[in-house]
Amino acid sequence: MVKETNKIADSGIYLILAFSALLCLAPILYAVALSFSDKAAANAGLVYFWPVDFTLSSYKEVLGDRFFFISFGVSVQRVVLGGIINFLVTVLMAYPLSKSARLFPGRNAYMWYMVFTMLFSGGLIPWYMTISSLKMLDSIWALVLPTAVPVFSVILLMNFFRGIPKELDEAANMDGAGPWQTLFHIYLPTSVPSMATITLFSIVGHWNSFFDGMILMNHKENWPLQTYIQQLVLSLSSIMNTTDPEEIKRLSAISNRTLSAAKVVLSMLPILCIYPFLQRYFVSGIVLGAVKE
C-alpha cells in the first residue's frame, strides 16, 4: 500500500520535473526551429518545435550582414578586455579584504566604501553624464571600465579566501614571500573553482549586456552584439504597437522572423558553448564562496 502511493508520487514528481525542464527548453527550441525554417512557412505560422521546409537561407543571409559581424567583434572585444580587467581588479581587491582588520587596519573602511557603492547609486542620468563628460562615449572603454569592479564577485572571492588556512599564509611569510607572491603563488592556485566562477560570471555579464551599448554608443559600428539584436527586437515589437489589423499585416510581411531567429540563435551560441564549464563550476563556486566564518 505504501509502496503503491510512493510509486504514484514518484511518477508524478518525475513528470512535473521533466515538464518544467521542457518548458525551459521550448522557447529556445522554437527559435532554433524558426531559424532553419522556410520564410513562407514561418510567416504562415506553421512552425512549432521542428523546422518546416528545412533551409539554411537565413544563416546565409546573416553571413551577408556586415553589421552582424562588426558587432560580434565588438562583443568579443569587450568580453576579453572586460573579463581581464574584472579578473585582475577582483583578485587584487579580494585578497587584502580577506585579511582581518587586526592585520590590515584599513580593511573595514575599504569594505564599507565598496558596499556603499553597491547599495546606493546616483541613478541613470548622472551616471551617463559622468561617462559622457569623460569623453568616453563611442569608445570600448565605456563598456568595460564602468563595470570594472564587480562588487558581488569581490565579496564571493573574499569569502573563499577567508576559508584558506592561515597556516599556509604564515608558512609562506616564513619563507620570505611578500603579499604579491602569497597571492599569486598560494591563493590563486588553491582557489581555481572560485576564479572560474567569477570569470564565467563576468564573461556572461559582458556578453549579455545591451543597455550600456545602447546609450553609450552612438554609432552603429560600436554596438556590441546584444545591442544590435535589441534593435531588431524593438523593430519586431513595433508590430505590436498598433492594433490596426492592416498595419499589422503590412509590418509582419516586412519583418523577417526567420532571419531574426537566426541572429538570436547565433548570439546564444557562445553562451551555450561555455555553458558546460559554467555548470561545472558555478554551483560549487557559489556555495563555497557563501561559507562564512
Binding site: 505504501v2 520535473l17 527559435a31 505560422g45 587584502p96 546606493f120 559622468t130
Partner: protein
Amino acid sequence: MRNRSFILNYHLMLIPGAVLLFIFSIVPMFGVAIAFQDYIPTKGIFASEWVGWENFGYMFSLPDSKQIFVNTISIALMKIAAGLVVPFVFALLLNEARIVLFKRTIQTVVYLPHFMSWVILSGILINMLTLDGLVNQILSWFGREPVMFLSSNAWFRPILVASDVWKEFGFSTIIYLAALTSINASLYEAASIDGASRLQKLLYITVPALLPTVILLATLSLGNVLNAGFEQILNLYNPLVYETGDIIDTYVYRTGLQEMQFGLATAVGLLKSAVSFILILISYGLAYRYANYRIF
C-alpha cells in the same frame, strides 16, 4: 617593519578598484545635484540654474507618476512572491527525485535561461506571442480567438511575472539545494524508524529546515521592491501597455535620455535610489538581527 610593508602593499592592491569605484559610482552620486537644477547640458552642472525642489514638485504633479509607482511596486511584489515560492517547491520536488542522472539533467536544463540575456529571451518571447506566433497557434487548436498578448493591459503583467519566473526559477533553486544538503540524514532515519511517511518527512523535516532560508531571502528582497526588472520591461513593452507596465526605471530612461528632461529624470531616479537605500538598510538590519546574516 615587515608588517608595515605588507599593509602598504595591501593598499596598493586596493587602489585600482577604489579609484574605478570612485569615478564610476561616487562621482555620479554628486551628479544627483542635477535633480535640483534646471539642467542644461551645454552649461553643465556648475552653471545650470538651481531650482530647489521644483523637479520633485513637478514629478508629483504629473498624472503618470502615481501610476508608475503603483506599476513598479505591484510588478516587483508579484515577482518577489513568485520568485520565492516556485523555486522552493521546485527544490522540494528535485530533492525527492532519486535517480541522480535524471536530477542532474533537469538541473542543467533549468539553469540555462538564467544565462540568456533579456534581449534574446524577449526576441523569442515576442516571436511566440505575436498574433501568428506559437502561443496563438496553440490557442487556435482549441478554437480560441488570437490574443494580442503584449499590447494587452490585462496580459502584460502576468507575462512579465511568468517570464521572469521562467528565466530565474531554476537558478534560484541553487540556494535551497545548498540548504538541503546541510540537513542531518539521521533525522530522516529516526523518522523512518518511528514510522513517518514520505509526506510527513517532507512536511516535518525538510520544510522546517528550509524555512529560515525562505525567510532570509524574503527579508533581503525587501530592497528590491522598487526594482521591477528594467531590462525585461524595456525589451517587452510598448506605448499601449504603459498603463500597466511602465516602471520607474523605464520612465527615467525615456524622460531623461530620450526626451532630455534631465532634471526631472534625475529627480525620479534619486527618489528611487533613496527609498531603495533605506529599504535595503532595513532589510539587512532585520536579517542581521534575526538570522545573524552579514553581507561581509
